[in-house]
């Protein structure tokens, strides 16, 4: 393939991946999924009933892998058996995946809220009715973008994996990234905004999540509004960078030309990783100076 066309396709893949990452994180914020949901689940037991959608279908990676695989399987059947246009097939596949995800979301939040009846946790039907379409909308965007990435990789860049397999792998990856990056913003900051900024959550405050919003009682919309300012976009950048940089090294240094080029691509990848290690170290030093020590060094004080 022409290197320029390869770069163009790669840019498109990077953009689609960035959108997928951002919408994946916001979907898990509006519906509250993955690790931060442990606090939403804990809150009523600590006598803090709330009005937050409590959807933990599973860990984020498996649930996104399921969504993307369902979408890709439907799209594959439509493309290969019914010779439908790929764009339509991907849209219909994503639509089916969003419906499947919506079903899981409703059953899990109802089950979880109902099982906490003894802690006086109400089942807010209006909240479920209003949040579920948003969750389905976000999951549609995520699935569609992951399918675009997988389709372009399989058909245009000539990756040997089938569409469904690639969608499954990218689903696992987008879930792993969303759960490790954007969810921290939701779990460590948004859920516990009443505590002072600038430290981790004290274990004794577990379950004491913020239940009142800027106006009225806080719900999933308020959480996705807040996380859309930082957690969502950085998740998008993370997934976009992963997909883009992973393919970029082999597009610039094409191993099909010669083995030496292949090794250059490996060297380029290692250089990227080294730069990231140094960047992390710089941020660490900056944070140590900015936030300072939380405790005083007693033995040294005594000796002084």
């Amino acid at each position: 393939m022409e290197p320029l066309i390869g770069m163009g396709v790669l840019a498109l893949i990077g953009v689609a991946a960035t959108i997928a990452g951002a919408s994946e994180d916001l979907e898990s914020d509006v519906g509250s999924q993955s690790n931060p949901n442990s606090q939403v689940q804990l809150a009523p037991q600590m006598m803090f009933p709330h009005r937050i959608y409590n959807k933990a279908v599973s860990g984020e990676p498996p649930s996104n892998a399921l969504m993307c695989s369902v979408g890709a399987a439907v799209a594959t059947v439509l493309i290969s058996e019914f010779t439908l246009s790929p764009l339509f097939a991907l849209v219909i596949g994503s639509l089916v995946a969003a419906c499947v995800h919506g079903t899981f979301a409703v059953t899990s939040t109802m089950g979880r809220a109902a099982s906490q009846r003894r802690f006086k946790q109400p089942v807010y039907l209006d909240m479920i009715r209003s949040h579920t379409p948003v969750i389905m909308g976000y999951s549609f965007i995520t699935t569609f973008c992951v399918l675009i990435v997988s389709y372009l990789m399989t058909v245009v860049l000539g990756h040997p994996f089938p569409l469904t397999m690639l969608a499954f792998i990218w689903g696992i990856t987008v879930g792993a990234i969303g759960s490790s990056t954007g969810d921290v913003h939701y779990g460590a900051e948004r859920e516990f905004q009443q505590f002072e900024f600038g430290s981790g959550l004290n274990a004794s405050n577990s379950g004491n999540i913020v239940r009142y919003g800027e106006s009225g009682v806080r719900n999933g919309y308020d959480n996705s509004w807040f996380c859309a300012k930082f957690g969502g976009p950085v998740t998008g950048i993370a997934f976009g960078m992963t997909v883009f940089l992973g393919s970029w090294v082999t597009t610039i240094f094409d191993p099909a030309v010669s083995i030496a080029r292949g090794w250059l691509s490996v060297v380029a990848g290692v250089v990227i990783v080294l730069i990231l290690i140094i960047w992390n170290w710089k941020i660490e030093v900056k944070a140590r100076n900015a936030f300072g020590p939380y405790k005083e060094d007693k033995p040294e004080e005594a000796s002084a």
């Binding site: 690790n35 931060p36 442990s38 860990g59 990676p61 498996p62 594959t76 290969s80 399989t154 058909v155 860049l157 990756h159 040997p160 994996f161 397999m165 499954f168 792998i169 696992i172 990856t173 879930g175 792993a176 990234i177 759960s179 490790s180 990056t181 921290v184 913003h185 779990g187 460590a188 859920e191 600038g198 430290s199 959550l201 274990a203 405050n205 930082f230 957690g231 993370a238 960078m241 992963t242 940089l245 992973g246 393919s247 082999t250 191993p255 099909a256 292949g262 090794w263 490996v266 290692v270 990227i272 990783v273 290690i277 170290w281 941020i283 660490e284 900056k286 944070a287 936030f291 939380y294």
Partner: protein, 249 residues
């Protein structure tokens, strides 16, 4: 059936080596589980298996792409390692952005007094009521090593399974269609399966959180590696029989 196993004994050894590498790699990945998502524990705020699988499978995508254009084993393994390293280091750097700029806490470890790499004091920077938070340099480097080993392991398993299929007379050429190639599909499926088996076994050692190679829990790796060795032999037998019999159909 026994003939098929004996004919592919070298590839089975490679599969077992790959499985053992994955099992070892998981011990390096700094995962904090659910507490890390609330900045209550050092590491990345997600589960062991999920992160290791996310990194390793990204490496598998890179290795699969590389294998499409070359048959050079070291290059395929290196590209698998690079793919996984890029995924895990991007995840960790963005995680650091969130911990430092979004949550406002210092990357610090609660398991050691000084960072073995940077020699920075850690205990003073752990905020009250937590087990550390964020990703200090030692955890970051440990995660990169984990990604590297996991990527090599996944790529080795995938390469071996493809070779088993090629020996049985199947073709592994790219088809540029959505259904892909049958051998590639089944080899990738088995590689993912074996990856998950070997990513789950070390989680019993880790028990939710590990900070990296400086964590005392890391020293428990021989137990998980031995278990993975046995489990992967069984996986390899099933995978090799299944793929080598496909050639006869």
């Amino acid at each position: 059936m026994i003939d098929a196993l004996m004919a592919n004994i070298l590839w089975m050894v490679f599969i077992v080596v790959g499985g053992v590498l994955i099992s070892w790699s998981v011990h390096f990945v700094p995962v904090g589980g659910a507490p890390a998502a609330m900045a209550q524990a050092t590491g990345i705020g997600t589960g062991t298996v999920q992160l290791a699988a996310g990194a390793g499978l990204t490496g598998l995508v890179s290795a699969g792409f590389m294998m499409n254009v070359t048959k050079d084993l070291p290059l395929i393994l290196a590209s698998g390692a690079v793919g996984a390293m890029i995924m895990i280091s991007v995840t960790m750097i963005v995680g650091t952005w969130v911990y430092v700029y979004g949550v406002g806490c210092v990357p610090s470890s609660a398991k050691v007094k000084v960072d073995p790499i940077t020699k920075y004091r850690q205990d003073l920077y752990v905020s009250q009521g937590t087990e550390g938070h964020g990703l200090p340099t030692v955890s970051f480097v440990s995660g990169v090593i984990g990604g590297c080993l996991g990527g090599i392991g996944g790529a080795l398993i995938y390469y071996s399974l493809i070779e088993v299929g090629v020996t049985a007379g199947l073709a592994a050429s790219a088809s540029s269609s959505v259904t892909g190639n049958e051998l590639v599909g089944i080899a990738a499926m088995f590689a993912i399966g074996i990856f998950f088996v070997n990513a789950v076994i070390p989680s019993y050692n880790i028990g939710g959180t590990i900070e990296g190679f400086h964590d005392p829990k890391w020293k428990k790796w021989p137990k998980a590696v031995m278990s993975s060795f046995v489990a992967t032999i069984l996986c390899a037998i099933v995978a090799v029989i299944a793929i080598s019999q496909l050639g006869g159909i």
